[in-house]
């Protein structure tokens, strides 16, 4: 190529330049920008500018009060979600699961549909989607708008600012707090958001730990467990408060895990310098209420619901199949659950939960319906449900089913919450990690490290609880 001489020429010219000439490039731009703005911008010093913003910032990013406000705000969001979702969830349940399923089933039978077809379509796919809609739609329709309002207002960068000190202590990039925030919506989006981190080392840490941000698919599991097992321990008047508190606690454990794993990684396989960076605190803006409601309902809620439904329909069909295809007189599901039971029980869970997590690798959203359907199918049969029919119970009866048929204890519920927080990312996220890193090594680590951690932690809590005689 004849163009190589240009590179030689550039190298020669560079040698004649002072060593710090690169600073000069930036300085010239800054000087020009300063000159232009000094001629075009004038400020009315009479107006108290930004003072309200500054006062608010002083409180929201305070070393102590910043964290207190954070706790209270997130607690309030979850409390509203839990309290507000109860009635509409029950209503949707009656409509879609109790009545809708019976009508559809009768319709299919009347049309002369064969039992296996009715089973797969109505008792499998339809019930799966109906369950997911009833359980997930109301909490999401409350949670997302509230979260989006906080985001529009400009609160999220303040949270990032507060957490920055902790992240730098963990040896990672402060912008990791922003990608972590994205992860609370969806881990795949959170992994993509790590592109804002320049250093490959710190970016990998952010990718690997993003899993500990609880995504949309996992909130419903936590909220349901918190409501029916932990909230139930408190007097009825305080139930929702305790339930919200338990969900916040799991989220806080998630943040601590993120910090701990980040610290461990930056001390071992991903050693290196911590980058300096600047985080801009944007001005507070009055949230646009209607637009926020509209976009968070249409874009986020329905988007997530659509994904859940797309996953729930085939999963429902698969569960119906493995519950109804017999090998040696026992269903395939029973064989697998039997094999997984020893491991599950050692972890304070059970075989049904582990099987549900295998079925639900494509989407965490369907964990709870899968667990309930398998528990009912494989249980002692006292409910009288047909094999593979997803149960027709409201959240209120769910506890009874899990305790009486599934043999669940408080430990099972707590460990399910912990397992849900820590376990491997969903297949979409794993694929995104692969796309972002193009490395089998880091994709495997990002998948297996959380899973190992989930096994270790649940085994530990189960062992401690048993030794202490709590269960």
């Amino acid at each position: 190529m004849s163009n190589a001489h240009l590179l030689d020429q550039a190298a020669a010219l560079r040698d004649d330049l002072p060593a710090d000439f690169q600073d000069g490039i930036v300085e010239s731009i800054y000087a020009d920008a300063a000159a232009i703005s000094s001629h075009t911008v004038s400020r009315d010093s009479q107006r108290a500018r930004l003072t309200a913003d500054r006062l608010l910032d002083r409180a929201l990013t305070h070393r102590v009060w910043g964290f207190a406000v954070m706790g209270v705000l997130f607690f309030a969001v979850f409390w509203f979600t839990i309290v507000g979702a109860a009635a509409p969830s029950a209503w949707l349940y009656t409509l879609l699961v109790d009545n809708g399923h019976a009508w559809l089933r009768d319709g299919f039978v009347a049309l002369g549909s064969p039992a296996w077809l009715t089973g797969i379509l109505i008792d499998g796919a339809y019930l799966g989607t109906a369950w997911v809609t009833a359980v997930m739609l109301p909490p999401m329709a409350i949670f997302f708008p509230l979260f989006t309002l906080l985001e529009d207002f400009g609160y999220l960068p303040r949270v990032a600012f507060n957490l920055d000190r902790l992240f730098s202590a963990a040896g990672t990039h402060g912008k990791q707090s922003l990608s972590m925030m994205m992860g609370y919506g969806c881990n795949a989006a959170g992994v993509t958001a790590t592109r804002i981190i320049d250093s490959p080392r710190e970016r990998l840490i952010a990718i690997i730990t993003n899993n500990f941000s609880i995504c949309n698919g996992r909130w419903p599991t936590l909220i349901l467990m918190g409501t029916i097992f932990i909230g139930a321990l408190a007097p009825p008047a305080l139930g929702s408060v305790v339930a919200a508190g338990s969900v916040v606690t799991v989220a806080v454990i998630g943040v601590l895990t993120t910090l701990l794993v980040s610290w461990a990684l930056s001390k071992t396989v991903l050693r290196g310098q911590t980058s300096a960076y600047s985080l801009e605190l944007p001005p507070y803006r009055r949230p646009q209420l209607w637009r926020t409601l509209h976009t968070s309902l249409i874009d986020r809620t329905l988007f997530v619901l659509r994904r859940a439904l797309l996953m729930a329909a085939p999963a429902g069909a698969v569960i119906w199949l493995i519950s109804n295809v017999d090998v040696g007189g026992t269903s395939v599901a029973a064989h697998v659950v039997g094999a997984l039971d020893p491991l599950g029980l050692a972890l304070g869970l059970n075989g049904v939960i582990l099987l549900a997590y295998i079925v639900a690798i494509p989407a965490n959203e369907i964990i709870i319906p899968t667990i309930l359907m398998l528990t009912m199918t494989l249980g002692s049969g006292m409910s009288g449900a047909q094999n593979g029919v997803m149960i027709e119970l409201g959240p209120a009866q769910t506890e009874t089913v899990l305790i009486q048929i599934g043999g669940w204890t408080l430990l099972t519920a707590i460990n399910l919450m912990l397992f849900s927080l820590l376990h491997n990312p969903c297949s979409t996220t794993i694929l995104t990690i692969w796309n972002e890193t193009k490395s089998l090594k880091w994709t495997s680590l990002a998948t297996l490290l959380p899973l190992t951690l989930a096994f270790a932690v649940t085994f530990l809590t189960a062992t401690v609880a048993r030794l202490a005689g709590w269960v």
Binding site: L17, F21, I196
Partner: protein, 279 residues
């Protein structure tokens, strides 16, 4: 500039009227169809790029009040007065100098994608800092419209901006806006059409190096580049990158892809993957 915003390049009364112009806008969503021009939306993080993008395309890219939401390129389309535009929303960046993934996506698109217009969205409450990026964009392309956004906020904070003077200093059209409320959109469309369809202004602001030795080196190398790649519009900027030893620019010189810029390869940028992997 105390109430309402007037574009610095206001046309005849009728054509600058909001109703007239909005009537000529057809939002095409992701359907870019057969477009005549490529327009890019660039700017600092959290200045309202995605809001401008959404207003023009009718799409609903996620917008939120924090920097770093848009890390990939989003594309959409609109037609205005019968001309089709493909609009590309770039990640928000503070500069085009460093090497993070999002900055590279923005820089490469401006350089290799050769948009016919670049809408530089600027936060009017933080003009000086935002101008740093605008000046860097002007080093790469002279087909620029500055969207002086968040005018409602700067007014609320008692900040007054001499829009005409800013336009003269930069040598490109400056349109005051409050994109969230849809204010200034007709004027923006007018300016975008002007820049896209006409010869670029000759008076565009190009930062001169204050260090005399550096300025000489840039001028020398820039001349050579002009000879090697006739028609290359941003020789001074490329010269600076070569002096810095920027690997991707050196590569573009070595394999001759830089020469495509002189021939106006508008699609070269689209062929590049949006999300290059972590290095």
């Amino acid at each position: 500039m105390t109430s309402g915003f007037q574009a610095s390049s206001a046309g005849p009364a009728c054509t600058s009227c909001a109703i007239y112009n909005s009537a000529n806008l057809a939002k095409l969503g992701v359907e870019t169809g057969d477009y005549d021009y490529v327009a890019a939306v660039a700017g600092n993080p959290n200045t309202g790029k995605s809001t401008v993008f959404n207003a023009l395309t009718g799409l609903r890219q996620h917008v939120g009040n924090w920097p770093g939401k848009t890390v990939a390129r989003a594309e959409g389309g609109f037609t205005y007065r019968g001309l089709g535009y493909k609009l590309v929303d770039l990640p928000g960046t503070y500069s085009l100098l460093s090497t993070s993934n999002d900055e590279e996506i923005a820089r490469d698109f401006l350089l290799f994608g050769r948009p016919d217009v670049t809408i530089a969205v600027v936060d009017s409450t933080r003009l000086e800092r935002n101008l740093n990026l605008v000046l860097q964009i002007l080093q790469i392309t002279d087909r620029v419209v500055v969207a002086l956004n968040l005018m409602d906020e700067s007014q609320r904070h008692g900040i007054t901006i001499d829009v005409r003077h800013l336009g003269r200093e930069l040598g490109v059209p400056v349109v005051p806006m409050a994109a969230r409320k849809g204010e200034g959109l007709p004027e923006l469309l007018e300016a975008v059409e002007q820049v896209a369809t006409r010869q670029p202004a000759t008076s565009v602001r190009r930062v001169k190096q204050r260090n005399a030795a550096l300025e000489r080196a840039v001028a020398t190398l820039s001349d050579k580049l002009g000879q090697a790649f006739p028609g290359l519009p941003n020789t001074r900027w490329v010269a600076l990158r070569l002096l810095e030893g920027d690997p991707s620019t050196e590569q573009a010189v070595r394999d001759g892809t830089l020469g495509d810029l002189g021939r106006g390869a508008a699609e070269a940028g689209s062929a590049r993957p949006t999300g290059t992997a972590a290095r």
